[in-house]
Amino acid sequence: MKKVIIGALCGLVAAFAVATTAPAAEIKLGVAAALTGPVAKYGVPIRNGFTLASEEVNAKGGVNGNKLVLVIEDEQAKKEEAINVFKKLIFQDKVFAIFGPTLSNSAFAADPIANQAKVVVFATSNTVNGITDMGPWVFRNSIMEADVLPVTVREAVKKFGIKKVAVLYGNDDAFTKGGYDVFKVVLETQKIPVTNTETFAKGDVDFRAQLTKIKAQNPDAIVCSALAEEAANIILQARNLGITTPFVGGNGFNSAKLFEIAKAAADNTIIGGPWAAESVSARNKAFVAAYTKKYGAEPDQFAAQAYDALYIVAEALKAVKLSGNLEKDRQSLRDALPSVKIEGATGPFTFRKAPAKAGVETGYDAQQDAHIFIAKGGKFVLMK
């Protein structure tokens, strides 16, 4: 049985090898994204962003006359699938670089493969700490929460004259717990006293006990690390209890779901994010118009970051003289990337070397300013 399967796989490999033999003027880039399953709501906009950007680049004659070809594979946000996809892209499709994977969890499993094979892996949606510690071939243009939240807190303090805050966070989820860890450090360094710290678990619906305790301390604002659904209920119940203080949140708040549930109660909630739909830069306007025209839906931050990532790599490829030797070309792309500067849909972008870790050479994080938003009348608008 196994022999038959291996035989079939061999056949498949051979078929693909024939089908994908490309003329020299094609530069293959891999995209590993979660296109099916519960994470597809992030993966699909990511794929769309890449597709749109590569079509635009090719329509303008490609990079130095070479066409970009995307090889898009579904990794289902599962670690084994992500590893399989990375290996297929690297060894079989022989791509120059890989974009992805969608979740940080998959990245921890798959990025070591790329790093070992000396292939650039470029994340557009991994925001946790430690991704770029995996090696010098790991890049990302997704801003870490650790970079966004300090700005969010500073701007909120400036806007509302906050003196002391209460903290509320979900302690059983990687994202919300990670957000809390960052908030804690930020509040310490900005010397803002914390009246009390309360926790909840994913799926909780009643937060009145925690909110009553918070109300008793009378803070100027509530710093909250939660996903949209819990966040909305927290805000709604806080308003019902007569708490009128503003909320300061993380990227988890950045969802239409927040307003579906909390409606106008969410007003004066302050968050930070990598991309603003209403940003008036010509680059962003062109992106939003092209995306909406092609896909019939408004883009989100994941699409915007993917779109920018392709332009970043395209910019780096301009400086690369293709030698025809795949290993050499991958290396030249890696060497050209750190110095790339572009004006993207998310704003001006450069790379920043990740802080050195003992014994391991690190990759590159995004050096980019976060946009700060405030909720007004059922949506987030840029705070001025």
Binding site: M1, K2, I5, A8, L9, C10, L12, V13, A14, F16, A17, L35, T36, E73, D74, K79, E80, E81, I83, N84, K87, K88, I90, F91, Q92, N105, F108, A109, P112, V128, G130, M134, D172, D173, A174, K177, G178
Partner: protein, 285 residues
């Protein structure tokens, strides 16, 4: 040709490893099934093994062999402790109890400092090699072949067919059931340890409800009439998504369709000896 082979191996070695690990998990659930126990705790035991082995390498710096041994030992001990009370249950009640145990294990991983909480453990070195998996599988298969005709194997079969009758024949059903449960946990734990050392990363969500059901699905898909069935079934379920990759968006739909067709037309699984015998007769007639 050697080039093609090299590319094939570089691309698919993780898949081959995964097939091997799934085969071990299939054997681990087959062991309890062969004793009439519907236990869904195998994913949790795999998780305990994976975390134990990973921590042994990361924190204690133990050699891979010892880490793997610990990864088998701890789930075995846990199985012993929780097996004594829970194995008094049978049928769906046992399934529910073991499922509940799985959830408890997941929540423990989520809340302990040493397991990295919801972030899991990353940076686990690549230690697993093909021969490790092959060697362990060969030993397991040899063990299962010998088990069939042994006193223990026959006791398992007797308990599966009719527990009361087995008891009446003087078989100590409790200790045999416990034996199957503990051995199953050890195998699952070793499989978890191997898996952790070729995927660089473990996190709580890999050992929750879904993988528990996946392991059972593989066993049922292959057929639980003999130990070969679950191995074949789980191997096919591991390979199928990669084999169907060319279907792009329709991949999972076709995957599901194949599962449904097999369950409808081959209710005893793919590896059905009676079916093979019937086909052979038809062929010769």
């Amino acid at each position: 040709m050697t080039d093609d082979l090299q590319v094939f191996w570089a691309t698919y070695n993780t898949l081959v490893y995964t097939v091997g690990v799934h085969a071990m998990l299939a054997l681990s659930i087959y062991l309890t099934l062969s004793c009439g126990l519907l236990s869904l705790g195998n994913a949790a035991f795999m998780g305990i093994g994976a975390y134990t082995a990973a921590l042994a390498t990361l924190r204690l710096g133990l050699p891979f062999g010892e880490a793997l041994a610990l990864g088998g030992l701890l789930p075995g001990l846990v199985a012993l402790v929780i097996g004594i009370p829970t194995l008094r249950l049978s049928g769906v009640y046992l399934a529910m109890a073991t499922l509940g145990f799985g959830e408890v294990v997941r929540v423990v991983f989520l809340n302990l400092e040493i397991t990295g909480g919801s972030m899991g453990l990353n940076g686990i070195p690549m230690k697993t090699q093909l021969w490790h998996i092959v060697a362990i599988l060969v030993v397991l298969v040899y063990g299962f072949v010998r088990l069939r005709r042994s006193k223990i194997g026959r006791a398992f079969e007797a308990i599966k067919e009719d527990e009361t009758a087995a008891k009446a024949m003087g078989i100590n059903t409790t200790s045999y059931k416990l034996l199957a449960f503990v051995l199953g946990a050890i195998i699952a734990g070793v499989a978890g340890g191997l898996n952790a050392h070729f995927t660089f990363f473990v996190s709580p969500r890999e050992y929750g409800f879904d993988p528990a059901v996946d392991i059972l699905t593989g066993a049922i898909f292959g057929g639980t009439g003999s130990f070969v069935g679950p191995m074949v079934g789980s191997a096919i379920l591991a390979i199928l998504p990669e084999l169907l990759r060319f279907l792009k968006a329709f991949r999972l739909a076709v995957n599901g369709l194949i599962l449904i067709l097999v369950v409808i037309y081959l209710p005893n699984g793919i590896w059905d000896r009676k079916l093979f015998a019937r086909l052979r007769r038809k062929g010769s007639a």
